[in-house]
Every structure is written in C-alpha cells, then in structure tokens.
C-alpha cells in the first residue's frame, strides 16, 4: 500500500514555509494568507488520516519506510497509531487557530514569524509520527529552534532571558536522550551480531524489549535520560521553572502552541518510547515519578493561586494539570492511561483557549496584572461568558471535557492507591479556588480605574477572535459528552502499552545485575 498521507501532513507546512520565504517583504498579508492556507491544508490531510484510520487494526498504520542512512540502519519511517492520530489532529487544529490568532497581534517581521510557525508545525507533527528513534530525535530538536525564535523575537520585555532558559533546559534533556538513543541502538546491534539493520526502528526495538529485553543497567540509565528529556518538556516538578518564564514572554500564539502541543511532546514520549522500550526501569522508577506528579499537582495549583500575572497563573495551572497526565501514565493502569491521554487532549484545547483569551485582554490593555482588572463583565459580556466557559472546563465541570480526563485518572489512581488518589483529588479543590478567584477578580465588581482609563479601547471580543475560539469550545463540549470518540481511537495504544508492561518487573535498585 503506497500511502503518503503521513508525509503529506508532515511536510505540507514546510512547503508553505518555503513559499513564504520567497514572498516579498512588503506584503505581510500574502505571508499571512499563505501560512493559513498551508496550515489548513495540513489540517485537512490530518483529518483524512483520522477518517482513514482503523481503530480495530492493531499496530501502526499508513506506515512509510525508506532507507536513509543504511550504514546505521537509520530509516525514514513514519506511521500512526491511535495516539499519534489524535495528537496530530490536535496539532494541526491548534496551529491554524494560532496562525489566525496571530494576524492581529503580530505586525513586525510577519514573514519570518509565519516561516517559524510552519517549521514548528513540521517538527511537532514529525515527533508524533516518527517511528525511527533517530528521526524522532531530529524532529524533537527541530521543534526547538522556531520556538526559540518565536519567544525571542516576538516575545515580551524579558524575552531573551526566557527563550535562552527554554532552550538550555530543553537541550540538556534532549542531548542526554540522544546518548541514550545511541546506547539503546548499539545494544540492539550488539545483540544482533553487529548488524545495524533495525537498530533505530521503534517497532523492532519494542519487540526486542518485550522478548529479550535490554540489560538492566542500560534500562536504568537510558530510562533516566529519556525521563529527563520528557520531564523537562512536560514539565514535571522540579524541571518546570522554564515554563512560567517562557509562557509569560511568548506571544499569545506561542503560548497556545507551547501549552497545547509542546508540553504534550513530553507525555507522548513517555507513552510511546520510554515505557515500552524500558518497561522494567519504568516500573522501578514509577513510584518516584508518581510522587513528583503529586508534587506538581499540588505545587502548581498553590503557586497558581498567588500569581499576580494572569498568564503566569494559567502557566502554573498547566504544571498542575500536566501532573494529572504523568500520574495517569505512571500508575500503569487502564483507566489511568485513558484518562492521561484524554487529559492531554483536553489540556491542549482548554489551556490553548485560555491563553487565547488572555491574549484578547492583553491586546486591549497591554497589561496582565490581575489586580488592575475588575468588572470586565459589564463592558465585555461575550468575552466574560467565553472566559467563564473555558474556566469551568479547566476546573473540571462535568459535561465538559476537562472533567472526564481528570475523573478517569482519579478512578485509576484510586485502584492504585487510595491515599494517592485522595491527595490528587485535593488539587481539584485548589483548581476551583484559583480559577474562580481569578474569574471573580477579573470580571465582577465595578469596572476598575485602570480599565476605565482605557475608554473606548476596551472592546468586546472581535469576530476573528471568536473564530479561533468557537472550534475549541465545540470540541470541549463534544469530548465532554462523548469522550468515547477519543478513547475508542486510542484503544490499541493503551492495550499495547499495558500488555508490554505485564511481563516487566521492577529492578532492585541496590542489587541489579
């Protein structure tokens, strides 16, 4: 079967970026239009991928293989399973929304901005579809550079500090992961009589991990390296400190993508690579990772409570929400994993929307200090209602998608350990606290002095802005009522991850051989 859909989805944005590079500088409108068209085409292709996907079919679909560096058995191998499909569609959706949302705020160097954004999309989709570890690593790093530029060039006042911090954090993790990838491939090659064929092929490596298994020492070290790379991206406590800076300084669309997709790369890495390749090590480290997740949950929520800056508040709430994802993954339990995947999607939709909403108010006031706001609901009723909707989705109101993911994770966690589940549930109270309190300070009461001073500038939400939010709101409702739409797709992924773990046993950290 010659199916190139996956490559098309991945590289259509690149074509768009190349076209934009040759457009005249004086015509930013052309660059904007081309970027939007490229993103929409990629989105349509990804929908095609979704429609053609067979949930009952085990393994990867639409696989494309071509030799790339035969001397090391490195291939261009891409393909999707349910998890990939869901995340690819999430990526393409959020990308065109972000590009649309950038039309107004980005007025300088539009051409470069759109090129960066489309290359960023290539990297993100590539990470989700790569089935060769070397290729995966390359896409993983490709994501880094455009984001560095987006924050550094189009960001806020303190953007340079934030962007360099972002790059250095991510790079330390990912370079160690590179060593681990090479060591893993070498171990595979060594076990196959020095033949490199398949040494970077994810499917063959996974089969090897499920049968012979990698040596304990390698597993412990390599998992740690993968963990570091992914934990920094998620970000898990205590590797999260780059996130608030990056979010606060990034332009609105940058924040949307950062929260919506980039954080998912880490969680995806755990589910796709770290756990299946090193199941014994995963079981060994799981308790520690669960503890870190709990800390992230509580800590993120408490810190969010006291943030004076609106964007920082949403950023810390991300730390907390992603804690649910890692918790759900590492309890190694069916509901937990389903919940984690659902939470990944929900967080992408809801937090993406919240950042868009923060962008709306920022564009009018050029300020994000919560204390200077107040009484917005009188002047901008539609905005207030929309914000309220996503705020409720974020705190987990039943009927909206945020609830289902968190609920499933908690159910799974309860089966794993009631105490852990109890602690995790506490977060939901904190979340209600910081979200409602924020909402109250922003929208209720009399119009604040600061906002009064803005006069006619303080307009309600505009049609273009609505256009970016409506699809997200629709999906939040749909997935809230019919979570099965996603769960059904990722059935195969969940089963395969959990069955790979069944034979695994935790390694005794003190007496491993």
């Amino acid at each position: 079967m010659l199916d190139h859909t996956v490559s098309l989805v991945t590289f259509v944005p690149l074509v768009g970026a190349i076209v934009i590079a040759f457009l005249p500088r004086e015509r930013p409108d052309l660059a904007r239009a081309t970027a939007l068209v490229a993103a929409l085409v990629a989105w349509l292709f990804s929908l095609g991928l979704l429609v053609g996907f067979l949930p009952t079919h085990p393994g990867f679909q639409a696989v494309e293989v071509a030799d790339w560096i035969p001397a090391f058995g490195i291939q261009y191998k891409v393909g999707v399973d349910g998890l990939s499909v869901v995340l690819v569609v999430l990526t393409t959706t959020l990308t065109w929304i972000s590009i649309l949302a950038s039309f107004g705020p980005i007025r300088e160097r539009v051409k470069e901005y759109m090129v960066s954004f489309l290359i960023l999309e290539v990297g993100m989709i590539g990470v989700f579809v790569a089935l060769d570890l070397f290729l995966f690593y390359i896409f993983w790093e490709v994501v880094l550079v455009p984001m560095y530029l987006i924050i550094g060039i189009w960001g806020g006042a303190n953007r340079i500090y934030a962007t360099i911090k972002f790059v250095l954090y991510t790079l330390v993790g990912s370079l160690l992961m590179l060593v681990a990838i090479l060591a893993t491939a070498f171990a595979f090659q060594d076990a196959h009589g020095g033949q490199w064929a398949g040494a970077f092929d994810f499917e063959q490596l996974r089969t090897f991990a499920g049968t012979t298994g990698f040596a304990n020492g390698l597993q412990l070290a390599a998992f740690l390296a993968f963990f570091l790379a992914f934990a920094i991206k998620v970000p898990m406590f205590p590797f999260h400190t780059w996130l608030p800076d990056a979010h606060v300084e990034a332009p609105t669309a940058g924040s949307v993508i950062l929260a919506g997709i980039l954080l998912k790369l880490g969680a995806y890495g755990f589910i796709r690579f770290a756990i299946p390749l090193f199941p014994d090590a995963a079981k060994t480290y799981a308790p520690a990772i669960i503890v870190l997740s709990l800390i992230a949950l509580i800590y993120g929520a408490i810190v969010a409570l006291v943030q004076p800056d609106l964007k920082k508040l949403v950023a810390y709430s991300s730390v907390s929400h992603m804690g649910f994802v890692t918790l759900g993954i590492f309890i190694f339990q069916q509901q937990g994993l389903y919940g984690a995947i659902l939470q990944m999607v929900n967080h992408g939709l809801i937090t993406g929307a919240l950042f868009l909403l923060v962008g709306v108010v920022y564009e009018r006031t050029h300020d994000r200090t919560i204390a200077r706001m107040g009484g917005l609901s009188a002047r901008t009723p539609v905005y207030a209602a929309t914000f309220g909707f996503f705020m409720l989705a974020s705190l987990g109101l039943p009927g909206l998608s945020g609830f289902v993911g968190e609920f499933l994770v908690l159910v799974g966690t309860f089966a794993y350990n009631p105490v852990v589940a109890g602690i995790a549930t506490l977060t939901m109270i904190f979340a209600a606290g910081y979200l409602l309190w924020m909402y109250q300070r922003l929208f209720f009461g009399d119009l604040s002095e600061f906002l009064c001073g803005l006069g006619a500038h303080l307009t309600d939400i505009r049609p273009v802005e609505t256009l970016t939010l409506v699809p997200l709101a629709t999906l939040v409702v749909v997935f809230g009522l019919f979570p099965g739409l996603i769960l059904h797709l990722v059935d195969g992924t969940v089963t395969s991850v959990l069955s790979g773990l069944q034979r695994a046993t935790a390694i005794n950290l003190f007496f491993w051989q």
Binding site: W68, I69, P70, A71, F72, R109, E112, Y137, I138, E141, V142, L144, V145, Y148, L149, G152, I153, R159, I160, T163, I164, V167, L168, L171, V172, L175, L176, L178, V179, L182, A183, A185, F186
Partner: protein, 488 residues
C-alpha cells in the same frame, strides 16, 4: 625514484606549481586580484582532479615513505576545499585593508602542500617535514596585517609556541626512532606491536617519547592545557585567516595524529587512551566555559574551536577504546567542522568588510534586519556548530558520541560530558543569534555589498552544512574507507 613515484606525488607537485604560478602571475600583472585569484582557483581545481585521479590507484612511493590511499585522498580533498574557500572569502576583507592578495593566496597554497604531505606520509621524518611545511606559512599568515600590533603579537606568540611544540615533538620522535630503529610507520608499528605483545610495562624511553609527542601534537591541535596561544593568534589575525587557522592547521594536525598515533603508535593505544580521554574532557569543558564569557565573536569562535578539538578527540579516544567508528566519526567531524566553521568565519569577515568594524557582539546587533540573508546563513552555521539537527554538526557529533557509547566504560562518561558541553555551547552560539535577530542595532549602518565570490563561497558552505546533515550516506562511506585504509 621512478616514473611511478612521480605519478603518485603528482598532486603534491601540482600544488607547488600552483603556488609558484600565483607568484609569477603577480610578478607579471602586479596588484590585480583577478588574474592571481583565477590562477589560484583554477589551479586548485586541477589539483583536486589530480588528487581524485591519483586516489583511484592506491600505491606507495619513495620506498614506502609516501602513501596514497583512501585516507590521503579524503584528507587532500578536504585541505584543498579549506584553502580554496579561504581564498574565496579573503579578498573582500584584504583589499580594503591594502593587504596583498596574490601573496596571501600563494602562502596558503604552500601551506596546502605541507598538509598534503602530512596526509600522505608514512614515514616519521616526512611527517615532521610536512608538519613544518604546513605551519610555517601559518605564522606568516597570522602576522599578515603587519602594521597591526595585535596581529604581530598573535603571530609572535603563535610562532614561539609553535616552534617550541615542534621541537618537543621532534624530541619525542627521536626517542621512538632510537627504540624502534626505524622511521617507517609500518615498521614502527610492527616493532611496537612486538613490545606491546610482551605485556611488559612501557619502557621509560618509549613512555617519554610518547609523552613528548603527545604534548607536541596537543599544542598543534590546541588541546587544553596547551591552548594558550590560540585566542591571541586567532584574534589578532585578519578574520578570513583566522577562519583558515581554526580549520586548516587543526585538521592537518589531526591528519598527523591519524598517521602517527593510529598508524605508527596504534599498538600502544591502550597506553595513550587514558591521556586522550583526559585531554578530550578538559579541552571540551574548558574551551566551552571560556567561550561562554567572550564578548567578541572572533574570540568566542576561537575558544569554541578549542571545544571542537575536544569533540574530535572523543572520536580518537573511542578508537583507542577499540572502536573503528571512532576514526570514522573523527574524519566526519573534521569535514563537517571545516564547512560550518569556515562559513561562520566568512560571515564575520563579510561584516568586517569596511576597515575599522570590530567583531564585537554589538556588530551583529540588528543584522537580521539589516542583511537578513547573512543573518539566516550565520544562524544556520551556529546551529550546526551547536549540533542541532538536521545539520552537519549534529550528525558529526552524534557519530563521535555513538562511537564513544559503543566503546563503553569510561568513554560512556566522556560521551555524557560531550553532550553536556554541547548544551553549554548552545548558550554562546545562540547569543549571537539573539544579537542578530532580537536586538536593535546600536548604530544605524548601511547594508554592505559583498562580492559574488563571497556569496558563492557562502552558498557552498551552506549547502554542504545542510547536505552533510541530511544525507550523510555518501560521506559516510568515504570516511569508512579512509579509516579502513589506515588500520588495515
């Protein structure tokens, strides 16, 4: 000497003739850049063709002192590209400063002959001869701007330390000759293999010889702690020459290491492994740490070139640890480093087109707005130097790290040190990007015009930087053959 010998040394003789031809042309039509450059570039092209032709029939000349094999061909072609690119980049910089272009090109081609001699020599004395032939023009080049006190200072430092290290190296060579009784690489290796097979501790004489030779070579490649001459020599030299000095003599010295340490001293590799590991770790770490604090891009690139020496040494260490891939990685790294570093220096030189412009970070402020294309190309070179895919620098780094991981043991630790260093290096490389794209220019300066020669060179390095990262296959098989030729 037979006709066959002449055919084998043909490319080398060709290079000497090119250098003489450049001088003659300059005598006939003095002071014009066109004719001299045409002769130089055409001549180099011809030498490259000759090299490729000679490489098709491997053989030895002069009783085994001069060898043409896959390694020689690869290194020769690399040297020719280095010299060719330098000649392409330099005129735009030299001309406004009234520095003679023809002499510059001739001196460079003379240095090329030295490097080519190193690449082909399988005799310790010829090796030394080649080394001196390569570095002597380097001293001249470092002091090329003779009215500039910094240039003169750098040249004197370079010359003094260079001579010292040559003497130390020669001293070590004498020990090895005294103990093995021969200067032919193959025979030295055979003799040392006998010594190593005995399993006894290294004789004091041999140990001394090894230590002296390592020290001498470490000076030449600017490995820490023998690197002190580098920043001054590099900063003082005219920028295109700095680019050459950071690549040419370094790759040349690595060629010497391959012929000497791998070819002749290979049997003793267990004895020099530890030294190389320590040298590599120190060189990477210190080079990067000091580069972090530099506010001048040229000086920063000088220190970062020290760090790159360290990464290449990781490949050598992996070889000593029993992995052929280490040599392949080292050779690949050499090629990748050549193009990305020459490209980066070419951009710095292009910015300094007008005399009086410094290479301080401020010069780069707002470049992305002033000359976007130059800014984008520089970003690409810097990303490659950092090791971000899909560039040549990434694949080269992955290759040496893979070899180190394969060798295992202490070398796995070295691999981790290498990647942590790469992360640290990102900070200072990306700082230049910050200045280019994220800061406003200090003073409004006009965009400058660069000659089409410079653009051609920049595009060549750009394409190679990308291709060696995206399609490493072809070069991979070349370096595999080269490494095989050396060890079989």
């Amino acid at each position: 000497m037979s006709w066959q010998d002449v055919a084998i040394v043909g490319p080398l003789v060709g290079a000497i003739l090119v250098a003489i031809a450049i001088l003659l042309v300059d005598l006939v039509v003095p002071g014009r850049r066109g004719p001299a450059l045409t002769v130089a570039l055409l001549g180099l092209g011809l030498v490259a063709v000759l090299t490729a032709l000679a490489g098709r029939t491997p053989g030895q000349a002069f009783g085994g002192a001069y060898t043409v094999d896959a390694l020689t061909t690869f290194l020769d072609l690399l040297f020719i590209s280095i010299v060719g690119l330098t000649i392409v980049f330099a005129p735009d910089y030299l001309e406004p400063r009234d520095l003679p272009i023809a002499e510059f090109a001739a001196v460079l081609v003379f240095a090329l002959t030295g490097a080519m001699l190193i690449a082909a020599s399988t005799d310790l004395l010829v090796l030394f001869l080649g080394l001196e032939l390569m570095v002597l023009p380097g001293y001249l080049l470092a002091g090329f701007a003779k009215r500039d006190s910094l240039s003169t200072e750098g040249a004197i430092k370079y010359f003094l330390l260079g001579s010292f290290s040559s003497a130390i190296f020669l001293f070590g060579l004498a020990y090895v000759w005294g103990i093995t009784g021969t200067t032919r690489v193959a025979e030295v290796a055979a003799e040392l293999a006998r010594v190593a097979a005995g399993g006894a501790a290294l004789q004091p004489g041999l140990a001394l010889g090894l230590a002296f030779m390592t020290t001498g070579v470490a000076f030449k490649i600017a490995a820490v702690p023998f690197h002190y001459w580098t920043p001054d020599a590099y900063q003082g030299s005219p920028t295109p020459i700095t680019g050459y000095l950071s690549v040419g003599p370094k790759v040349g010295a690595f060629a010497l290491i391959l012929r000497l340490f791998v070819g002749a001293l290979g049997p003793l590799r267990a004895d020099w492994l530890d030294v190389i590991i320590v040298l590599a770790a120190l060189t990477m770490t210190l080079g990067n740490l000091v580069a972090l604090t530099q506010g001048n891009v040229k000086r920063m690139l000088a220190y970062s070139s020290i760090a790159h020496t360290g990464y290449m040494l990781v490949g050598l260490a992996a070889y000593a640890g029993g992995r052929q891939e280490g040599l392949q990685g080292l050779l690949y790294y050499g090629a990748a480093y050549t193009f990305m570093n020459l490209g980066a220096f070419a951009v710095v030189a292009a910015l300094q087109h007008r005399p009086g412009v410094t290479s301080a970070l401020e010069t780069f402020a707002g470049l992305g707005r002033r000359e976007p294309l130059l800014g984008i190309l520089m970003t690409l070179f810097l990303l490659s130097l950092t090791g971000i895919p899909p560039t040549a620098g990434f694949f080269a780094k992955a290759y040496v790290i893979l070899a180190a991981v394969q060798a295992g043991g202490a070398l796995s630790v070295l691999a981790v040190i290498a990647v942590l260093n790469a992360a640290a290096a990102a900070f200072y490389y990306l700082r230049v990007v910050v200045y280019m794209f994220m800061r406003e220019p200090v003073a409004e300066t006009e965009p400058q015009r660069h000659s089409s020669l410079v653009w051609a060179g920049l595009w060549a390095t750009t394409v190679l930087t990308i291709v060696l990262g995206l399609v490493p296959g072809p070069l991979l098989s070349v370096v595999t053959d080269a490494a095989k030729a050396l060890t079989s």
